[in-house]
Structure formats: structure tokens, C-alpha cells
Symmetry: C2
DNA sequence: ATGAAAGCGCTAACAA
DNA sequence: TTGTTAGCGCTTTCAT
């Protein structure tokens, strides 16, 4: 049952490399961290020794010495079943990829939904990570205020809605621009009564997206009153909200705050025998897999998560540079993926 | 009388705790790692000091000393756009959650798709992680054979298809059982001509799932010949494959190797005005968000990813225990989520 | 049950 | 340009 699953020999150390190259340990360290200091022939000799031994610096030792781990902490929130929030997956991948290019790795930790600061504190005090990426600023900002007070470096994906005076770096996507983009697209394909199916009023992200709809529709001289519904972000709420809109407001398009709601709207249309895209257009938000896969295809606002990751890592590097450099907030523009539910007629 | 505490710039160290508690550093270390050695009153005094100072052991120092990082490496593969493989998200979350309960954290790294060993090697040599979770065994096993030869501890999610003699721990889901489960369900709701829409023959996972379909259908004395199509795992391939089956084989049910293919099949049905679940049943694999959200709902085989994570972490703990214990492979049973596309008639 | 000493592998500061 | 010294914070002997 037991097996010798440990590596047979210990990995080579910096001292081994120094011996082999016939130089001191410090010279090897310099070859790694400050190669310009070495004479070319010495550098080459050291690099040969490194290659021959397959040497890689021991991270624990380096971390201990430099007081930095080159690890970025990211709380991995539970995926909500039955919703279309596969955003995280795309973002995490982009983040991991950009981090690699900067020599960082991503450390995932599970937070407590009740007390969001719980995971952060332990990782900070144990110097396990150099900084955090905080993604759930829509939950209010207990973490960010805590992190800020503790002077822990972090970059937020999401605006500090509750405390606009917060000075930490953040990157966000312009929801209002996305809402307007979608609304103008619907106007362009000939829709006149564009309804909004969104989240409850306490959602700042929801209100942001909604404001784009309001602005674009009014700009076209068309009505918004009586054409809005606010519900929870669930499939069934979306279906019920859309049903209500269809029965009471007679819209020819429904613009939704999320793909989850948009899929709910498609349910409502199907139940009434209404064809999406022909009779009533539907547009969602987030360009989820469901939007991409549903028969006919669901038009959706796509968040530029790859760009977000780039900006987040840039801000992180600024923060961790010496001296630290505080990059200004970045608000990125979403795009629109047009599919069958908003075909031109 | 205790002295007033002022939060220092640097986190408190073990020596700070020792000073405050009036004991030696080693006693504090023992309080942490071997509390049974201490006299109850000493232990209490140390714990008080730890709490007062908000002390958390420095991970780098501990890692350096113990030669372990309590980090588990996980390669985060790129999410394929336009497919329903949101599996990873659910699995990662379960894994992170279980790891926390065992005092581990998950380190994400981006691999190179061309040379899958690239990320692993650096992390191993730098002792950045104690072990790996390998998820993409369906790609063949360059990583696993490499890891095994390097004697790096790892647990695979996925069988060693190419090398059944491999002795590393692994956890997998029984695809054949899933295929049979879905097929029997379709038989139970009165379907007689159950087609298979699967991947190409070189996919071991696909052949595994398919074998369950074959067995269950034959067991019922019904035909399988002429009722199978093999395509790539894309939406359009699924649509085309389903279209071919519908036109040439007249099935009353299509069992698919993935939700992506199943969504493609729904496209094909929609184009023909065929109602899923009434005229032709459709069942997918993986219980993706698309399956949960698509109007009518897509019946799908659900992988027990939470259980997989539990077993993976258990195997990991065995591997990292001293002496190491090699847990036997685990093959877990999937379940079926019945939705509208396979309603009883 | 508690304490003293050593050292894990690395890099910052300084010396040569 | 290269080498020497010191020490990051912790745990592992071993001694008391």
C-alpha cells in the first residue's frame, strides 16, 4: 500500500551551482537576479552550471528573504447553480495567463460568504500572498475597506460603489455603455418598444446597466415608463418578469441585465408561442455559454475579461513595484455579440 | 499587568509571541504543532498571546524548514468558447473548498498546450507546491508519465487510459454507467430508437460513455446499428450530426456525449420544427448551465464533481502523509438530471 | 515540560 | 566584478 513517493534526491541548491561553476553563492544569485553585474564569461559559466544541474531557486527561501511570495490571492466564489455566471472561468484563466507573464501565480482560496474577510486575513498575516484580486465588490465592500485599513495591496475588479472616495486601484466594465450599446442595436434593427428586465434596485451593477438602456431609449425619443421590471437574478424570476412585461407592456424587445434573466425571458416567449428575434427580440448580458449555445443564439453584451485581466495585473505590478505606483481606475467598454434573438427584420 | 499592544509594521513573529507569553520560541512552536506536549496553563498563556498579537505563522519560513508548501498545483486549462464545459468551475470550487479543510491551498498555473509539462517542472523544482491535481488525462498522458518518473506526488481526475498499469492514484466518473443510466431512462419513458451522437473514436471518454448506451439498448433487445454518429465536440458538428441521424435513422431519442452536442441537436430539431421531448427526446452529458437554462430544460448526466474533489483530496492527503499511503483508484457514479427534453409521453 | 542551538536556501549590505 | 557576512522565521534535534 505504501510507496516511496518522495523525490529521491533533494533538488540542487544555489550552493551546488556555485560549486560547479567555481564561483561564490552570491555570484550565482546575481546571475539570477542581476545578470548585468556579471562578466559575460562568468555569467555563461554560471548559466551552464544551472542548466546542467536543472537548478530552480527554492521559492520558500527566496520568499523568506525577500518577504514576498510572488503569489496573488483570489477568492473563488461558489458557482451559483442554474445561473449563467460562467464569467469567473474566463476571467480566472485570463488572470492566470497574465500573471504568468509577470512571474506571478494565482492562489485560490475559499472564502466564507458570511464573513468575507476570513480568508484574506490569514493569508496576509502568514505572508502567503503579496496582493489580492478582489472580484465581488458588488457585495458591498467589507473586504476592500478591511484590506485598505490593513494596507494590504489589492486591485478590485469592480468599482467601489459604496465608497467612491476609495483610493485603491480598480478595473471595471462600463455597464451603462453596455446597456446603451444593446439598446441602440435593438433600435437599429427596428425595435420601438424596448423593455428592461433587470435586477432589484439595490444592485448597483444592475442600475448601471439599466441607465444605459434608459439613456439610449430616451435619446431616440421612445418611452421607457411602464417598460421595466425588476426581479431576482434567477431563471424563474426572469420568466415571470418577462411574462409580466409581455402581458402588460407589449414590448417588441426585452433587454435583460443578465443572460440568466434573458434565458428566463426565452422561456416566457416559448410558453406563449412567440418566436424570439422575429416577434420579440431578446438581449442578455455577459455572453455566457448558454447564450452561445441556445438554439437561435442569444444576443448578449460581452465583457472584455481578457482586457480586464491585463489591466488588473498592470495595476498589481504598479502596486508591488518599489516605489509603489498607484494606477488610475480603468473603465473598459463591453462589446455586443449579435445572434438570432435580435435578428434584423 | 499586560503591556499595551501597538500593531507593529511587520507581522508579529513567533519570537514576539514567546516574549509576550514569557516562554521560549520553541514552546510557542510546540503550542502550534504539538499542543499535547504543553502543560494546560502554559498552552493557554501561549494561545492568549497568539490571539492578542493576531499571530499567524510565516509560511515562507515554515515552508523552508519543513520542505513543504501546503500548496496544491492545478493547471487551469483555457475555457473553450462556445462549448458547455463549465465543469472546471464547479470542480475547482469543490477542490478549493476541500483543500481548505485539509489546510491546503490551490495554486493555479497556466500550462502550455503544446508542451504540457512546462508549468509542472518549474513548480516542482522550486518546491512551490507539494503535489498536483492533474485533470486533463484525456489528452494522453505526457504529464502523468513525466510526473511519475520524477516521483512528484499527484492525483489524477481521469483514468490513465493510455497506461492502465500506471500506479498513481486517480479518481474518475464512470462514463459507461452514465451512458447506461441515460439510455435506460429513455427506455423507461418509452423511447425505442435511441441514437448515439458522440465524439470520434479516438476519444476514450467518448467510447466509455458510448459503451453504456450500447449495453443498455442491446439489453432491451433494441437496435444500435445505424443509430450512431461520431463528430467533433462543437455546436455545429452536433447540429450536423443530429441532422444526419434525424434524416437517415429516424430516431425517437438522441443521447449525446456532451451538452455541447446536445445543444447542437436541439438546433437541428428546431430547424425541422421537431419539438424536443415530445417528438424526439434529447439527453446530454455534464449538466452544464446551458442544459439548466435552455427553454424546456435539457436532460443531462451530471458528474459528481463535489465527490470527485473529496476523493482527490483524500488521495492527496494519503500521498503526502508520512509514510505515504497510496489510495486505490475510485470510480464514481454519475446521476441524471431529468428535464423537458426527455419528458415522459 | 521547557529551553538552547543549529540550519533550511536565499539575498541585502557591505568588503575586497 | 566577485566574495564574505548576516539573518529572514521557523522547526528539529538534543539537553535540561
Amino acid at each position: 500500500m505504501t510507496a516511496p513517493y518522495r523525490r529521491p534526491v533533494l533538488p540542487p541548491t544555489l550552493a551546488d551551482v556555485a560549486d560547479r561553476a567555481g564561483v561564490s553563492r552570491q555570484t550565482v544569485s546575481n546571475a539570477l537576479n542581476n545578470p548585468a553585474l556579471l562578466r559575460p564569461d562568468t555569467l555563461a559559466r554560471v548559466q551552464d552550471a544551472i542548466a546542467e544541474l536543472g537548478y530552480t531557486p527554492n521559492r520558500a527561501a527566496r520568499n523568506l528573504r525577500t518577504r514576498s511570495s510572488r503569489l496573488i490571492g483570489l477568492r473563488h466564489p461558489p458557482a451559483h447553480e442554474g445561473t449563467a455566471d460562467a464569467l469567473m472561468d474566463r476571467f480566472v484563466h485570463s488572470l492566470v495567463d497574465r500573471c504568468r507573464q509577470s512571474g506571478y501565480h494565482v492562489l485560490l482560496f475559499a472564502g466564507d460568504d458570511a464573513d468575507p474577510s476570513v480568508g484574506y486575513e490569514e493569508l496576509v498575516n502568514s505572508t502567503a500572498v503579496d496582493a489580492f484580486v478582489v472580484t465581488d465588490t458588488f457585495l458591498g465592500t467589507p473586504q476592500t475597506t478591511w484590506l485598505e485599513r490593513q494596507r494590504v495591496p489589492f486591485v478590485a475588479f469592480g468599482r467601489p460603489w459604496e465608497s467612491p472616495s476609495a483610493k485603491h486601484p480598480w478595473v471595471d466594465v462600463d455597464g451603462a455603455a453596455g446597456g446603451a450599446l444593446a439598446a441602440r442595436h435593438l433600435l437599429a434593427v427596428g425595435r420601438q418598444r424596448i423593455a428592461w428586465l433587470g435586477w432589484r434596485k439595490d444592485s448597483r451593477i444592475g442600475e448601471d446597466r439599466r441607465s444605459g438602456w434608459t439613456a439610449a431609449v430616451r435619446e431616440a425619443g421612445l418611452p421607457t415608463t411602464g417598460l421595466a421590471a425588476r426581479v431576482d437574478d434567477t431563471l424563474s424570476s426572469g420568466r415571470e418578469g418577462a411574462a409580466m412585461l409581455l402581458d402588460e407592456a407589449r414590448p417588441d424587445a426585452i433587454l435583460c441585465a443578465s443572460d440568466t434573466l434573458a434565458m428566463g425571458a426565452l422561456h416566457a416567449l416559448a410558453e406563449r408561442g412567440i418566436t424570439p428575434g422575429r416577434d420579440v427580440a431578446v438581449v442578455g448580458f455577459d455572453d455566457s455559454q448558454a447564450a452561445q449555445l441556445v438554439p437561435g443564439g442569444l444576443t448578449s453584451v460581452r465583457l472584455p475579461l481578457e482586457e480586464v485581466a491585463i489591466e488588473v495585473v498592470a495595476a498589481l505590478e504598479g502596486l508591488l513595484a518599489r516605489p509603489p505606483m498607484l494606477l488610475p481606475p480603468r473603465l473598459l467598454e463591453p462589446t455586443l455579440r449579435v445572434r438570432g434573438t435580435s435578428a434584423a427584420r
